[in-house]
């Protein structure tokens, strides 16, 4: 008796679910976004406000997973099981564009949302740093130039590199290769710092690149694959660690971490906007134009995100730490969205 009733109930629920599956064959009605964890807070704020402000659209869903991960999902193809927008903290690489095209993702709209600065920070109770790209290179390199040619990195304390630096063990927590931040770290810090050395300049260009990008493997450089909270946890655990963060993360945790000056410039809103602070990078989002008209609100959300009210002066995204575009550039980006201009 009990069993037959149970069976009946199970059959009923299965029938309801299969009816639901049939109803789902239409295109998804929620915008799906993935990519850079630096972009995640900004785009999430915009998504939430968009969904709450416009009754006809649903709140877009924003995932993370790093710039590379987001673009991989984005380039998987066209259809309701693939994402509509990829966020990145670096431009799309030619190889990624080729992968996209090979999978049928032909029409891609590229929009610059604003800028982000990356900062080097240590614990609030640790010493203050004033670093140069050359010093950071020397702290993290596998091999360094010396009088006897290239030798394995001998530096154990920052003061070994330069006597002006604190006498503190070298422990550097840098973003893993899945993060777009890593690319900026290498291009704006490590390479310039490395290539400025006379001994490196004598090498062939290819050998130079290989030499500069080799990272020491003795545990003093820690690659963080997760979010900035993981880097912060590393700082909590190791008093001497210096970590790489996004400026917005630093601003939310000013009571816990202390930023380092880069070549004498501290990252503050003024120095970043004036272009004095060297470590800034543009943030992008890529829109799959083939999904326009299929995913409701895709173009509207793109316009909303790039609009002055959301990501301009005195906007919620600026409050969250985004460095805003110039009005001219914003106009250009909005035009791109309206014209649905593809890469």
């Amino acid at each position: 008796m009990l069993c037959s009733r149970l069976l009946l109930a199970i059959m009923l629920v299965t029938a309801i679910i299969s009816a639901q599956v049939k109803a789902q064959t239409r295109f998804r009605d929620t915008i799906q976004i993935a990519g850079s964890s630096t972009m995640l807070p900004f785009v999430s704020i915009a998504a939430e406000e968009f969904g709450y402000s416009f009754a006809q659209f649903r709140v877009p869903v924003v995932g993370s997973g790093g710039s590379a991960g987001g673009l991989r999902q984005f380039c998987q193809g066209v259809g309701s099981h693939t994402i509509d927008i990829a966020n990145t903290s670096r431009p799309m690489r030619p190889a990624e564009l080729a992968a996209c095209k090979a999978n049928g993702v032909e029409q891609i709209l590229e929009v610059t949302l604003g800028y982000d600065a990356i900062v080097f920070a240590s614990r609030i109770d640790a010493a203050a740093f004033n670093l140069t790209p050359g010093q950071i290179f020397l702290a993290q390199a596998a091999q360094v130039p010396s009088a006897k040619g290239m030798v394995a990195n001998p530096y154990k304390r920052w003061s070994d590199i330069d006597s002006s630096l604190p006498e503190q063990q070298i422990v550097l927590a840098i973003p893993g290769t899945n993060h777009g931040t890593r690319e900026i770290y290498e291009e704006d810090i490590v390479l310039p710092g490395c290539q400025a050395m006379p001994a490196v300049q004598q090498l062939e260009p290819e050998a130079q690149l290989n030499f500069c990008s080799a990272i020491r493997k003795d545990g003093r450089v820690i690659e963080i694959a997760g979010d900035y909270t993981e880097t912060l946890a590393r700082l909590d655990a190791q008093h001497d660690a210096v970590g790489v963060f996004g400026v917005s993360f630093y601003q939310a945790n000013r009571d816990r971490i202390k930023v380092a000056a880069i070549s004498g410039v501290l990252p503050a809103t003024e120095t970043i906007l004036a272009g004095e602070y060297p470590l800034t990078r543009p943030l992008y989002f890529y829109v799959k134009l083939a999904h326009v008209g299929l995913t409701p609100g895709l173009l509207e959300f793109s316009r909303y995100l790039a609009s002055d009210a959301v990501s301009g002066e005195n906007s919620p995204l600026q409050d969250a730490g985004l460095i805003v575009l110039t009005p001219e550039l914003r106009q250009e980006m909005l035009q791109r969205i309206i014209r649905q201009q593809s890469l």
Binding site: Q32, A55, G63, S80, T229, D255
Partner: protein, 455 residues
């Protein structure tokens, strides 16, 4: 003639046995004491660890169940909330046309600046508010303007009236009042401006800002634009839908498979092979099921990403071996005499199992199923791979809507930038998840006790 010597010499007399026993007694007692103390030490150590974990989580998480809120008289000023009449469906109007009109009206309401209502009301209690408009806007968390909008959408008759409301304050005010940030730090390291700190002090002395039970934690979905309003409702519903899928799929399938294997299947190489593989499946790391789900359910069947239906399917696969193994061992434990008696009285095999064996096995099966579901409820790893760690700011309405799950929400909050606020919030989410797990386990125990039969 020689007397045959006994084969075994009686070398051990009663006296020597006694001596031997006496000699070894101390050593054997010592061994027993050592073993007992090891066992006790193990129990105490594990209890101590659990206690440390609980103290840590509860001391961090319990304060997050209360959150600072400001009591304000909000006047729904008709000059600010200047909207047309709420549409009412006419008798000859189609549903679609009405929905269209309703959405247009809601969009109109969406353009109203509800922040004005809040700042106007704050100006009445803060005399110097006008000079610091930017600070003023930051006192109440930004999501509360949608709460006011929803009140108007629900009942436009509220326009022109005054309501006393408890509005959540900004997350940083909560952090400041709870002392989660060092108050002696210089201005540059503080999140609140000096003016806001002065206001907060004044308002809490007046009793306008108070710690109130945080319904937001249970009623709201996750939020990033208004951190103080971030809640668990979306994740809870996501988990609920997934558990429904698990109960509907894994439990009947697992029980049916177990009954077949235990009662009907012939003993041959094939069933041995199946049995070994079910045990292997139980040992497969859960993340592997996530990879499988991503490629099969999303890649092949084109099911939506981040949806509880996919999460439920993945967790069903994971729970299936647990249910099968638990059910089989319960069936094994039913005395064969029950089956034999039924068969002897002329019942068919099917009747013997469904009328006599299964009812006795129900408590065991239920226990296995509930423990399997509890295990699935706490699982996060496979869900990360099917897009369920996305930020979802709405409560899912069906298993096909995007959502997160409780363990994933813990993971997401743990990664939020505003550490001072979300450390407590994360622990509060852990407490909620633990409470659910404990109640599921209690249910399992209660069911077992209730239906238990002894022979």
């Amino acid at each position: 003639m020689k007397v045959a010597e006994p084969l075994i010499k009686p070398v051990i007399t009663a006296g020597t046995v006694q001596q031997k026993v006496n000699a070894s007694l101390a050593r054997r007692h010592r061994k027993e004491r050592v073993f007992k103390s090891f066992g006790l030490a193990a129990v105490l150590a594990s209890l101590a660890l659990v206690l440390i974990l609980f103290i840590n989580i509860f001391s961090k998480g319990l304060p997050a169940f209360w959150q600072s809120a400001i009591t304000l008289d909000i006047y729904f000023d008709p000059q600010v909330v200047n909207i047309s009449e709420k549409p009412v469906q006419a008798a000859n109007e189609s549903d679609n046309a009405f929905r269209q009109r309703d959405i247009e009206w809601q969009t109109e309401v969406g353009f109203i600046n509800f922040n004005r209502l809040i700042t106007d009301s704050l100006e009445k209690v803060l005399p110097d508010a006008r000079q610091h408009r930017r600070d003023l806007q930051r006192i109440v968390t930004s999501g509360e303007r949608f709460a006011l909008r929803d009140m108007v959408v629900q009942d436009p008759g509220i326009i022109g009236q005054t309501r006393t409301l408890h509005l959540l304050t900004d997350a940083n005010i909560d952090v400041w009042l709870k002392g989660n940030i060092d108050r002696s730090l210089p201005d540059a390291m503080q999140q609140l401006s000096p003016k806001m700190r002065e206001w907060v002090q004044q308002l809490s002395e007046q009793g306008l800002i108070q710690n109130r039970f945080s319904f937001a934690l249970f009623m709201n979905a996750d939020s990033r634009s208004s951190l103080a309003s971030a809640g668990l409702a979306g994740a809870f519903m996501g988990s609920l839908y997934m558990m429904l899928v698990v109960i509907v799929l894994a439990v009947p399938m697992g029980v049916a498979a177990a009954i077949y294997l235990e009662e009907f299947a012939p003993k041959n190489r094939f069933t041995d092979f199946v049995e070994v593989n079910i045990n292997n499946l139980a040992a497969v790391p859960s993340i592997v099921f996530g990879l499988l789900g991503a490629s099969v359910f999303i890649g092949w069947f084109n099911l939506p990403m981040s949806a509880p239906i996919v999460g439920g399917l993945v967790l069903s696969l994971m729970t299936l071996p647990t249910v099968i193994i638990a059910t089989r061992s319960t069936l094994k434990a039913i005395p064969p005499s029950i089956r034999q008696a039924a068969l002897g009285l002329g019942a068919s095999k099917m009747q013997a199992i469904f009328h006599h064996v299964l009812p006795l096995a129900i408590p065991g099966i239920l226990t296995g199923a509930i423990l399997g579901v509890a295990q699935a409820l706490g699982e996060a790893a496979p869900l990360l791979l099917i897009g369920m760690k996305s930020f979802v700011a709405s409560v899912p309405g069906s298993p096909f809507d995007q959502s997160t799950a409780l363990p994933v929400q813990i993971f997401l909050w743990q990664g939020n930038e505003l550490r001072n606020f979300f450390e407590a919030r994360t622990s509060a989410a852990i407490i909620v998840l633990l409470a659910l797990m404990i109640s599921l386990n209690a249910l399992a125990i209660w069911l077992r006790k209730k239906y238990e039969k002894r022979w």
